[in-house]
């Protein structure tokens, strides 16, 4: 491995992380814009979240009086985990840096570390809201887990590996894999999990602050200034990252399969386009959906789990 190769890899990783970090807030802006338009409002410009971020980063940091170091560490871990997985995952290219060791299970557990960090910092605030958000998000997380892991298993069984770049390349080389029931059922289940984990409708309404129903907003209620900015970046990076994985597993075409700057750039553009389409679709879906009651959620997630299990079984007996 020569120096030029290593440098290219590092550069690719940085570009991929930067794209996800900037793309995250932009995706949020886009989804809000679509919602606003469908609801008959003009809505803020698409880059509004980026402007908000600039404002947040310039503010003073605050923490609840009796909190410990965990409170300040939460947002850092959240962003760090998102950055780590974004750097090594097959988003723009099927040969990401360290791609050989980009395991689907590892990626999911790294992201879980970010959620746990946030749930712990919410409890560190010592308020009822923090506990509420933490408890609810952990409940949903626990119930998401079977659907998520079995979905990964279903895809991995079919490909005989849980290596993410290999899964994407598999779809590129053999389009029949994508049309297989295992992949489709697993991805449907994966989508349910993404919606639940990133706090979108029908699991959580990202645009309300109502005590009785909020999950994610309760979790981050005590954060302000740069820490809140980090959380917004981290959460939106996770959303873009997960949607990016979803589209690359579902429609891998456009992702760079060869080395080279042009292919990489084209892969990046294709990724942006695909994620934007899915983002708009989710926004449209959200306009026409009501939030589910917290205690109806197990049914939704169990549905996701059943899809994944069916996928796994079809993958095995194929």
């Amino acid at each position: 491995m020569n120096l030029a190769h290593v440098l290219t890899q590092v550069l690719e990783a940085l570009v991929q992380v930067a794209a996800v970090a900037v793309g995250g807030p932009l995706l949020l802006g886009l989804m809000r814009k679509v919602r606003a338009r469908l609801e008959g409002r003009v809505g803020a410009p698409i880059h509004q979240p980026l402007l908000d971020l600039r404002k947040l980063l310039a503010k003073q940091r605050m923490r609840p009086r009796e909190s410990s170091w965990v409170f300040g560490a939460g947002p850092v871990v959240l962003v760090a985990t998102a950055v780590a997985v974004a750097a090594i995952s097959p988003l723009a290219t099927t040969h990401p840096p360290l791609g050989q060791s980009t395991d689907f299970f590892a990626v999911v557990f790294v992201l879980l570390l970010g959620s746990v960090a946030l749930a712990l910092s919410a409890l560190d605030t010592g308020t009822a809201f923090g506990g509420m958000g933490s408890s609810r998000s952990m409940t949903i997380g626990a119930l998401c887990e079977p659907a998520l892991l079995v979905a990964i298993l279903a895809m991995a069984i079919a490909a005989r590996t849980s290596n993410l770049p290999a899964l994407v390349r598999d779809g590129l080389a053999h389009p029949a894999v994508i049309a297989s029931p295992a992949r489709i059922l697993a991805l449907a289940s994966f989508l349910v999990v993404i919606l639940a984990e990133s706090g979108r409708l029908p699991v959580d309404n990202p645009s309300t602050h109502l005590e009785l129903t909020m999950i994610h907003e309760a979790l981050v209620l005590e954060y302000s200034g740069p820490d809140l900015g980090l959380i917004v970046v981290g959460e939106s990076m996770r959303l873009v990252f997960l949607l990016g994985l979803l589209v690359n597993l579902l429609v891998p075409w456009g992702v760079a399969d060869r080395p080279g700057a042009w292919a990489f750039g084209a892969g990046l553009l294709a990724l942006a386009a695909k994620v934007a389409v899915v983002g708009v679709a989710i926004a449209v879906f959200e306009v026409f959906t009501a939030k589910m009651r917290l205690f109806r959620l197990p049914e939704l997630l169990a549905g996701g789990f059943v899809l994944a299990l069916l996928g796994a079984v079809t993958a095995v007996v194929r």
Binding site: R65, S68, L120
Partner: protein
């Protein structure tokens, strides 16, 4: 040299116990700990030399035990268990130095604890039925003494000890039966004799023996429904003893299953391993569910032990299934996963129990609903618990993750090649594994978040101070080990593969390779835990730098402590926080049909008018549903029989003489 080590293990342990019982209070714990360390060091030396050279240690003597003699053999599988026990024991005894002044410096405790450690260290050495059973029983009795330590102060400790005594002896009886059956049918009581003959026994007999042994060893490993003693005894035992029981003793249950199933009987048909898997799935789910809903810190940890042993059993079962269906490669990966999970569990559960013991020392309570705010008051203990919690939740970069990843790889590569019954059971196992993982995360976010973060919920927690330096060192060493094993699992993997090769009768010695990234040989699976952790650390540093830069050239303080938002209230009290009970409420409601908590609502009205309420009392308890539905009726039945039997044994001498006469007549009639 190695043979000397084996003798040293036993001798140093006995000396430690004698000194602990004989010396005055001022010096007995130090002496006991010193000699226990000698014993542990000797055991570690022997185990490491076995694991690194494949050279088996064998010794036998007819002088120690009359009639049967003692036979000692240490093979790689036993050596791995010795390593796990010795590591936990060294940390726990170091911790004991500080803990002793909190009621663990009595003569009985100071001699029981070293004996407990030594007998555990020696169980994997045992290579004959008699040696094994004597050591097994010694382990049970000494740990029972330790559970009873607090019995004068706590009624619960006495009841826990009763449960533990009954369950462990029922288990020992089952083990005795299985081993005696084996030795009776193979004409010798050394394990070598049994191994040579056992494979020629009939399938039905082998199956019966395996099931009996599985029940016996399963009860030691905390397999549901034989787990009822675990949340009681592990919770009531004093700090270092609970760490030893949960981090080291339960492992020996797993060792027993591997010993009988794979070594003595030489592997078996698919249904054995299906049974082990099912037991594992039930234990994992049940343990995780109760850990998630329990609000007693040590009870939560004990249930999580049942959960983790369930995972190990799932892995062992999967390995057996794959081996029985002719796929040695995936069987090897699953067995390596099982042993790694076992080793990891020892380390992180040891750390967690030691930290929980420190909390109990500092606050006098284990009730999460009375804790909180300890991260600021006990920073080292808090950090140890946090590391342990992240490890048990299988989050990278800590050690729990690597084991679970290996297990997933084993299952995923083993599935496509199996037959239908295996496929369905393994798919269900994966789903159970995933739900278990999720519940464990919730349980440990609760334990850490409610116990150590936020505001203190009681005066005791407010006044808590960090514990003695030796306690912090003992617990901290295990926490550091959690991180090291998470970053470079390759340190122990070669040893584990040697052990797995013996345990699974499979060629596992090269299941994995690589130092920075972990490659599965013959399968497409790569994991680079240290690179992953390095990436996260770099990213975290970058994020912190960005956050700092945002403050550059500002005159205000970096972080401003403020009163949190209270919906307009001026002052918020600690009682407004979520408690462990409220944290677990959504999960408890989701799984209401399984755990059936008992709820009790008392509303008393004012005398003047029943439209005004004077007092509302709401009680809820989620005691173990298996204990309530199965054990309690059983105990009631036994008691009923006991009452009936008193009619026969009422103290009247005339009646006893009549019994003797009737018995004599019956004997004469039968003989004639």
């Amino acid at each position: 040299m190695n043979e000397v080590c084996v003798v040293t293990v036993g001798l140093a342990g006995v000396v430690a116990a004698l000194l602990g019982g004989a010396l005055p209070a001022s010096s007995r714990v130090v002496a006991a700990v010193t000699f226990t360390w000698v014993s542990c060091a000797a055991a570690l030396w022997a185990a490491v030399s076995v694991l690194s050279s494949d050279h088996v240690i064998a010794l036998s003597s007819t002088a120690i035990l009359p009639l049967t003699g003692v036979t000692v053999v240490l093979n790689p599988l036993g050596a791995l268990f010795v390593v796990a026990i010795a590591v936990v024991a060294m940390a726990s005894t170091l911790y004991w130095l500080g803990y002793a002044s909190h009621g663990l410096a009595t003569r009985s405790a100071s001699s029981a604890l070293p004996l407990f450690v030594t007998s555990m260290l020696l169980v994997p050495f045992a290579a004959s039925v008699a040696t094994f059973l004597v050591l097994w029983e010694m382990m049970a009795l000494t740990s029972l003494v330790l559970v009873l330590t607090d019995q004068s102060r706590r009624e619960a400790a006495r009841s826990a000890a009763q449960w533990y005594a009954v369950m462990t002896h029922a288990g020992a009886a089952a083990i005795l039966l299985a081993l005696v059956l084996l030795s009776a049918h193979s004409g010798g009581q050394t394990f070598a004799d049994i191994e040579a003959h056992a494979r020629h026994l009939s399938g039905a007999l082998r199956g019966t023996i395996f099931v009996i042994a599985l029940l016996g060893f399963g009860s030691k490993a905390g397999a549901v429904p034989l787990h009822v003693w675990l949340p009681k005894a592990h919770a009531e035992a004093p700090g270092p003893a609970s760490a030893l029981m949960s981090g080291a003793m339960v492992n020996l249950g797993i060792y027993g299953i591997l010993l009988v199933g794979n070594e003595l009987l030489g592997g078996g048909p698919v249904w054995w391993w299906l049974l082990v898997s099912v037991l594992g799935v039930v234990s994992a789910l049940y343990g995780a569910l109760y850990a998630a809903t329990s609000s007693d810190l040590k009870r939560l940890l004990a249930y999580s032990t049942a959960d983790n042993m369930g995972l190990v059993m799932i892995a062992i079962g999967a390995s057996g299934l794959f081996a029985a269906s002719g796929h040695p490669m995936t069987a090897a990966v699953a067995m390596v996963a099982a042993l790694l999970l076992m080793l990891n569990h020892s380390v992180f559960k040891g750390a967690l129990f030691l930290a929980a013991g420190a909390v109990q020392v500092a606050t006098g309570t284990r009730d999460l609903d009375r804790l909180g705010g300890l991260m600021r008051r006990m920073p080292v203990t808090g950090a140890v618990f946090l590391v342990g919690a992240l490890s048990v939740a299988a989050l990278p970069p800590f050690n729990g993750f690597v084991g679970e990843w290996l297990l997933f790889q084993g299952l995923l590569h083993g599935l496509p090649t199996s037959n239908t019954s295996v496929v369905i059971s393994v798919s269900v196992a994966v789903a159970a594994l995933a739900l278990t993982g999720g519940l464990t995360v919730a349980a440990f976010v609760k334990a850490t978040g409610i116990g150590f973060l936020g505001r203190p919920r009681s005066n005791e927690a407010t006044d808590a101070h960090e514990v003695a330096i030796t306690m912090r060192l003992g617990a901290g060493a295990l926490a550091v080990l959690c991180l090291v094993l998470g970053l470079v699992p390759m340190l122990v993997l070669p040893a584990i593969e040697r052990a797995a090769a013996g345990a699974g009768r499979i060629n596992a010695t090269s299941a994995t390779r690589g130092w920075i990234s972990l490659h599965l040989l013959g399968l497409r699976g790569v994991l680079a835990p240290s690179l992953l952790a390095g990436g996260m650390a770099l990213a975290a540093l970058a994020v912190i730098a960005v956050r700092r830069l945002a403050h550059h050239r500002r005159s205000w303080p970096a972080v401003n402590p403020v009163e949190p938002w209270g919906s307009g209230r001026k002052v918020q009290t600690a009682r407004m926080q979520y408690t462990a009970t409220s944290f677990a409420e959504p999960l408890q409601r989701v799984f209401d049909d399984v755990i059936r908590p008992s709820r009790d609502l008392d509303v008393s009205h004012l005398v003047e008018s029943r439209y005004y309420i004077e007092r509302i009392a709401y009680r809820t308890s989620n005691d173990d549903v298996i204990e309530r539905q199965f054990y309690r009726p059983f105990i009631a039945g036994v008691r009923w029989w006991g009452q009936r039997a008193r009619w026969f044994q009422n103290g009247s001498v005339h009646r006893y003489l009549a019994y003797g006469f009737v018995a004599l007549v019956i004997v004469l009639v039968v003989v004639a």
